[in-house]
């Protein structure tokens, strides 16, 4: 029977993978379960693995395996283990924070012999769920990803028996049971040993129960057996293992010799066909093709020989008896410094090089769009927040929208993509935006539950836009912070939308604000607008004004205006969606007036045309570019409509312009002004929303009345005709960005607010954040 807090021996088997091993060791510092020892079994390594391990002297037991045989290495670790539970993880994987805790929870059932969790493959372009509740047949056919126990209960295959299996990179066993079973069969050099063991345990009447929880993030690293993310590897080892597996397990399960023989032939033939396809696709050379095919025959012969004529190479009972007895004390891996270790990037292994006074936070952010796939203003801000918080040492999870459910790691954050599932709230189908948003909120809530179980996230930070944190806030499961941006009600008023769908979305925004534990407006103006629109008066300790920040570009990329360019054609840049709210109509009216007075000027308008959604197309029958060309043919050649541009092109546009203009009728903050100021460009905006908190009138740019084309034209002309002001204002703007609006400063403000709200949520005591209620 397992005691209240059973000890765990965590075994890592490694050869020539010092880099990934260092990453894993750093990540293990964050495990929530403290009662585990770490055993690293090092194969015949050629790199600096031992040097990496020397940094953990006294906390890690280092053993040696004389050959590159994974099963043997696993058995060496098993024989040295002192814990009641033995867990295995690959050296190129990183576990979730509560990985061991979830595993140990299962082992409280005395009948359980083994378990394993999900494995997420962190791939730069095609991340996928590699394993969850997998099953395997007696002829080595596998179904690795199932949603529930009954999915693929009758999978297509030839094997008689299908049983549960785990993946070697995420599995745990009761140590006594594993020793009694003789450990891993050492015939399996590289692959198949865990599956074979699972089958043997199940056939012996032991219970194996993998779980949906306790995932690890697998970042495949190169080894002597395979190159990651390529088709090059010693695949004949798979053939060898599979044929051995069929011959050992097939007869025991009642598979006929004819079926087993056919399966073995299919294994070899299948590999040949795969090699042929790779050769045809020019992914391997002709020589490799021939060599791979020949090696497969060699592997098949070896597997055949082993399966037919050799006994299983398990631990002899005498060796198993020599293992330490249960209950011996372990040397825990975690020490007093572990709780204050900064979060680790599971791909590069990097982490913030700062000393944390308090333990790092575990934060969940949401954003419908997120880089690198697609992003809007909220996505861009969320990305910067995630990056800044990671650099301050915190673990960040971002929940975003995707084509399918998958996890990857991007620029400091675990990015969890969720596919849209319209499986709830059918009553609201007639208000489609609300219907989609509610379903998405619920998907986020379910994901947050998983993140609590597996990663122990402490809070959810949701933008007001699409009220993504609403269901979580209603559930009360976590403290929810809401980033206040332009409210839907304000946008609807500007666009003239008065339908039920928009109204109800506004109501949901209000409900989210009311239920949020803390509000994070980006400007005083946003807070005032929320007060005015929704009639809410948040208490001073319930909000913190956090102005947005950006990444300051290096000094050598800053291009202030050069006075010698006076008289040459200057470029005026607009960035934003071409829609009414962004002030595109007064801008298009102002452009001809500017060109009449400063003829050499060139205008660049970058952004997606939204004329079909803001009513412009309905009124005029054309988009904005067409409208301008039709009404101002004389000036059309001086105005370029670029459409949507990617981030790289956008930075080029910022760098190359001389003046930036964005006459939005309302902006809650105005990140675009900061981005232009970052390159020392003077800016022109409107006296609306939070823009005056970004642009210092007369110092870093000019502010005009919203919707006034004449005033806008006058401001642009006055700057274009004053090279000294162009330069001075640009440089002043750059200084303002560096001093007040960097993403790290923003992240520190968020961190301060988060710590305060977590304390308040956990203790009910008032927060002590000096920033609360202030900017």
């Amino acid at each position: 029977m397992i005691m209240a807090e059973p000890s765990v021996s965590l075994i890592i088997n490694t050869t020539d993978r010092a880099g990934p091993l260092a990453t894993l060791l750093r990540a293990l510092e964050h495990q929530s379960y403290p009662h585990f020892e770490l055993i690293v079994v090092v194969g015949p390594t050629q790199d600096n693995t031992l040097e990496v391990l020397s940094a953990y002297q006294g906390r890690v037991r280092v053993l040696h395996c004389p050959e590159a045989n994974l099963s043997r290495s696993r058995n060496i670790g098993l024989l040295a283990a002192r814990g009641e539970i033995v867990a295995y993880i690959d050296d190129d994987a990183v576990p979730c924070r509560r990985w061991l805790e979830q595993m140990v929870r299962l082992f409280r059932d005395p009948g359980l012999a083994a378990t394993g969790g999900a494995v997420h493959l962190i791939h730069p372009t095609y991340p996928l769920l590699q394993h969850r509740i997998g099953i395997v047949s007696s002829l080595a056919e596998q179904v690795d990803v199932r949603d529930s126990w009954l999915e693929h209960l009758v999978p297509p295959g030839e094997g008689n028996t299908w049983l549960t299996r785990m993946m070697g990179t995420n599995m745990a066993f009761r140590r006594e049971t594993l020793l009694q079973a003789g450990g891993f069969d050492e015939f399996y050099v590289f692959i198949g040993e865990e599956t074979d063991l699972a089958l043997c345990l199940a056939n012996a009447g032991e219970i194996i129960h993998p779980v949906l929880e306790a995932p690890v993030y697998h970042v495949p690293a190169a080894s002597r057996n395979r190159m990651p993310f390529s088709h090059r590897g010693r695949w004949w080892l798979n053939t060898r293992s599979d044929i051995y597996f069929c011959l050992k397990n097939g007869p025991a399960a009642g598979d006929s010799m004819a079926t087993i023989t056919r399966r073995c032939l299919h294994l070899v033939h299948g590999h040949w066909l795969w090699y042929r396809d790779l050769y045809r696709a020019r992914e391997i050379e002709l020589g490799e093709f021939v060599r791979y095919c020949a090696h497969d025959i060699r592997g098949a012969a070896s597997g055949l020989w082993g399966g037919l004529f050799r006994r299983r190479q398990r631990l002899a009972p005498s060796r198993a008896r020599s293992a330490p007895r249960t209950g011996q004390p372990i040397v825990p891996f975690l020490d007093e410094a572990s709780p204050r270790q900064a979060a680790v990037d599971p791909v590069s292994g990097q982490r913030a090089s700062i000393s944390l006074v308090e333990p790092p936070l575990r934060i969940c952010l949401t954003s419908t769009f997120y880089p690198p796939q697609s992003y809007d203003g909220v996505g861009r801000l969320t990305h910067l927040m995630a990056r800044g918080l990671f650099e301050l040492g915190h673990t960040v999870h971002v929940v975003t929208h995707g084509d399918r459910d998958q996890v990857t790691f991007y620029d400091g954050a675990y990015v969890h993509e969720l596919a849209t599932r319209l499986d709830r709230y059918h009553r609201y189908r007639q208000t489609p935006n609300l219907y989609h948003a509610l379903n998405r909120c619920h998907g986020i809530f379910e994901k947050v539950q998983r993140l609590i179980l597996n990663d122990g996230v402490q809070l959810l930070d949701s933008p007001l836009w699409l009220f993504e944190g609403l269901v979580t806030a209603v559930s009360g499961i976590l403290p929810v912070a809401v980033r206040l941006v332009t409210p839907m009600k304000e946008i609807a008023a500007i666009l003239g939308d008065r339908d039920d769908d928009t109204r109800l979305q506004g109501e949901m925004e209000k409900a989210l604000i009311e239920r949020a534990d803390h509000l994070l407006p980006n400007s005083r103006a946003t807070l005032d607008m929320v007060r005015r629109l929704y009639g809410l008066e948040p208490a001073a300790d319930r909000y913190t004004i956090v102005p947005y920040g950006i990444v300051p570009v290096p000094e050598d990329e800053v291009q202030p205006f050069e006075p010698e360019r006076e008289g040459q054609g200057l470029t005026v840049l607009f960035v934003g969606r071409l829609e009414k709210r962004k002030g595109i109509i007064p801008l298009l009216e102002a452009i001809p007036r500017v060109l009449d007075r400063v003829p050499g000027t060139r205008f660049v308008l970058a952004g997606k045309d939204n004329s079909r959604h803001d009513g412009f197309w309905r009124r005029t029958g054309s988009d904005y570019a067409g409208y301008f060309a039709h009404h101002h043919p004389r000036h059309a050649s001086r105005v370029e409509f670029t459409g949507s541009v990617d981030d790289e092109a956008l930075q080029v546009l910022y760098r190359s312009c001389d003046l930036f203009v964005a006459p939005s009728l309302y902006e809650s903050f105005g990140l675009v002004y900061l981005e232009a100021m970052n390159y020392a460009k003077p800016v022109v905006g409107c006296q609306a929303g939070g823009v005056p908190e970004v642009i210092e009138q007369g110092t870093t740019g000019l502010l005009v009345e919203p919707g006034r084309a004449d005033a806008l034209a006058e401001a642009i002309v006055s700057l274009l005709q004053s090279p000294a002001r162009l330069r001075d204002m640009g440089l002043a703007g750059r200084s303002r960005v560096v001093e007040q609006f960097s993403y790290l400063q923003m992240a520190r403000r968020f961190e301060s607010a988060y710590r305060c709200m977590i304390r308040r949520f956990e203790t009910g005591a008032p927060g002590e954040d000096p920033m609360v209620g202030k900017t």
Binding site: R98, E101, Q102, R105, L106, R108, D109, G111, I135, D147, S148, W149, L150, E151, L153, V154, T161, W162, L163, T164, A202, G205, I207, I208, H209, V211, L212, E213, R424, Y425, R427, Y428, R429, Q430, L434, L438, C441, H442, F445, E446, Q449, I452, L453, G456, V457, Q458, V471, V474, S475, G476, I477, L478, L504, E507, M508, K510, A511, F761, E762, G764
Partner: protein, 226 residues
């Protein structure tokens, strides 16, 4: 939807879905959904073909039995849900995941994800499910009526027997699939039974606790969130 909904109605629906999700998103709920999908697909595949006579009757009858079993499962799942709600009410917990532990620790979230240890391993069905599976040995034998004609009678009988092997072959496949459906249903039933027993035990324990608290001279507050 004839009348425009109000924000309060939407929020009530949100709360309902949280409660519903807490019960429907566990492994039992997923298993039931999977069984239903498999059942529907099998019915479609088997009955939409040109199967005739006795084979079709056999399949249709079996599907009717499955429908009854699914209805039974649904009823038991509903009863389980009612019991869980009763449990929440008795214990003073709000029926959301993590309600009893606002930091979201495993104890609170166990509501949404019942300890998986309660579930039988698919490779090792429980006793009752195993018996149910064993009782459902669906099989069809060919009944060949011998032809009594002289000389060619034997030949014709063998020919008839050969012709009969083809439908028997397919019907056996059908029967195998049906057995798997039944196996899935049996497993789900066993899970429901197990969870039901656990919930009843919890309710009884809490009832006893409440009685003890009432009987005591210094009543303690009911367990619940801060």
């Amino acid at each position: 939807m004839t009348n425009s909904p109000t924000a309060d109605e939407i929020l009530r629906d949100v709360e309902f879905e949280i409660l519903h999700g807490a019960l429907g998103q566990d492994d039992l709920g997923q298993a039931l959904q999977t069984a239903r999908r498999f059942h529907t697909r099998s019915r479609h595949e088997l009955l939409s073909t040109e199967t005739r006579g006795r084979d079709r009757d056999l399949a249709a009858r079996q599907f009717q039995m499955d429908d009854m079993l699914l209805a039974l499962l649904q009823e038991m799942a509903d009863r389980l849900r009612r019991l869980q709600i009763e449990l929440y009410r008795t214990s003073g917990l709000i029926p959301t995941a993590g309600a009893g532990d606002r930091s979201g620790e495993s104890e609170g979230l166990a509501v949404t994800s019942p300890p998986p240890l309660a579930e039988p391993d698919p490779g090792a069905p429980s006793g009752s499910a195993q018996r149910a599976i064993e009782l459902e040995k669906l099989d069809v034998e060919a009944h060949i009526r011998p032809v009594r004609l002289p000389l060619v009678g034997g030949l014709l009988t063998r020919l008839r027997a050969t012709l009969h092997t083809l439908p028997v072959f397919y019907v056996r496949q059908l029967a195998e699939q049906q057995i798997e459906v039944n196996r899935a249903l049996g497993e789900s039933l066993a899970q429901v039974n197990h969870l039901l027993a656990e919930q009843q035990a919890q309710i009884e324990a809490l009832g006893r606790q409440v009685q003890a608290l009432h009987a005591g001279s210094d009543p303690a507050p009911a367990p619940g969130p801060e």
